[in-house]
Symmetry: C2
Subunit: 311 residues, 2 copies
């Protein structure tokens, strides 16, 4: 018997037991059903990954499953939402059982780490395209927004910058003495879910870094109608990224490379003492529009603003 659309989904993706208390009905009907507790709003986001655009052909399916879910959970984290469930739309050129098994393993392992239920989806044939919609809960009126940065806010960053960008350069042939950490950051990003939750009530504005700090912070600045001063010397860089910059002179890379999936957020000076999140202060919000990058005591031109399709 050929694998049908229905048995496919069933075989690889329904082994997960429903765990999240918000799930009223999971996979198997025309819709899934969710409950949203009193005092909460539902945060909803979607991200698509296309072969040869967002990932290389031949990417380890287990890492791909992890990353597809991670980038969506990262969007929830940036709003301070607690993830509860996801829908998965898979377009596959053929039924490749080892690929599906690996992909499901990477996807579901990360889902289980956060008690996220896979509540439904769609499987179609066609060029490899993967879309997730992720949903999470956030206390009513408390979501972290891009548009609420205020003049005088300090700008912070979780984790370190540019490691995923270095990982991509290594995949493309750059020689690095200690490549493993950078490759892991590129292939298996960790969504900053706990940090996002801990920033509720403290951060004024927040975004996750998918397209590079310069471009993503730029969204905060535009939507908040403010500007910023960034101090290059304050950027949290790993030894491997410092070695890359020393070797190549490419000191803009950590600002323009994507896929870091750290959180960039702003906090008023009065609330800075309340921060419990492990983070680094990298700049300050200013009234004048635009992003001013200080390096070696002078403003440096920013020549790239992050990755954009069709550009």
């Amino acid at each position: 018997m050929p694998l049908t659309e229905f048995s496919l989904i069933q075989r690889f993706f329904t082994r997960q037991r429903v765990k999240n208390p918000s799930t009223r009905l999971g996979i198997g009907d025309d819709c899934a059903l969710l409950s949203v507790p009193d005092g909460y709003e539902l945060a909803v986001t979607t991200d698509t990954m296309v072969e040869n655009v967002h990932f290389f052909a031949g990417t380890d399916p287990e890492e791909l499953g992890h990353k597809l879910l991670a980038v969506n959970l990262s969007d929830l984290a940036s709003m301070g939402a607690k993830p509860i469930s996801v829908m998965l739309a898979l377009t596959l050129p053929k039924v490749d059982e080892p690929w599906l098994s690996g992909f499901a393993q990477g996807f579901l392992a990360l889902a289980e780490r956060y008690s996220v239920d896979l509540i439904g989806g769609d499987t179609t044939s066609g060029p490899l395209t993967l879309t997730v919609q992720a949903m999470g809960l956030v206390p009513k009126g408390k979501a972290l927004r891009r548009s609420c940065a205020k003049q005088g806010d300090f700008i912070y960053l979780t984790g370190s910058l540019g490691d995923a960008g270095l990982g991509l350069k290594i995949i493309r042939g750059y020689h690095c003495a200690y490549p493993d950490a950078a490759l892991t950051r590129f292939n298996r990003p960790n969504p900053q879910v706990a940090a996002g939750l801990a920033l509720i009530g403290i951060a004024n504005a927040c975004i996750d870094l998918s397209d590079g700090l310069a471009g993503d912070l730029g969204h905060i600045l535009e939507q908040s109608r403010v500007g910023a001063r960034l101090d290059w010397e304050a950027l949290p860089l790993s030894d491997a990224v410092r070695a890359y910059i020393y070797g190549t002179g490419d000191w803009l890379m950590p600002l323009t490379a994507g896929d870091d999936y750290e959180l960039c957020f702003t906090v008023s000076p009065e609330k800075a003492a309340l921060l419990t999140v492990d983070c680094t202060k990298i700049g300050v919000i200013e009234a004048a529009p635009g992003l001013r990058l200080y390096k070696s005591g002078a403003v440096q031109p920013l020549t790239s603003k992050g990755y954009e399709h069709f550009s």
Copy 2:
């Protein structure tokens, strides 16, 4: 200046004003925010359409936008959910402004008819693949399920059967004297939102017809662990479909052709008098598993069970 991902989404899809009271935050941040009123659950569904799989290359983009949303609203209708919002993941081979303009027009016109807000999405480059996730509200515990048909229930159908299938045959070259209605049914299906809402508290089980009556009713039978008797002579058929069957002998087509997007539902005989939905009784739920089709007084073999990918 080249069109960027951001201006693309903005230009074609944000002209819609936020209208639905459930929308707390629409397009423009990492997530959208929804409120779910007390006493309601959120129904969530996703459907993908791929060029050359679900629609022909060269399909009118306005009709495609309409149909993509309609098939998702149809899933909400089959659960008795009132649609409130949608996310749209667009993968496009290139920026084709007339195409995007037509697509957005078809999509947003249907969204506005039901006060559905487009609250977010993702635009990527790649082979033409369109994914929608649709969300709706349903009173807590009242959603219409596939799994709740009971022995003795009458089986009903909204509208007529096989017109979309005939439309597809016309596109593929079948000559029909009056093709317009069938083509419209295939290209611009009407989701049965009002019927789904009116069936809450009356129907025991419900499904929407996307893959053909035999296969879709089969899902109700499997998940409810029952069987059914269908009466071919009772099927609601248009004159055009009757003429097609008369000319070709293909009397199975209305049972196996997809894309009708009518609702098939079951109602206990005691509640049948409460029905306010315009519908036709086509059979009865029986204890013995399986689907028995009666035609000319005898059980007929069903050789096809609806469309499946990868089969």
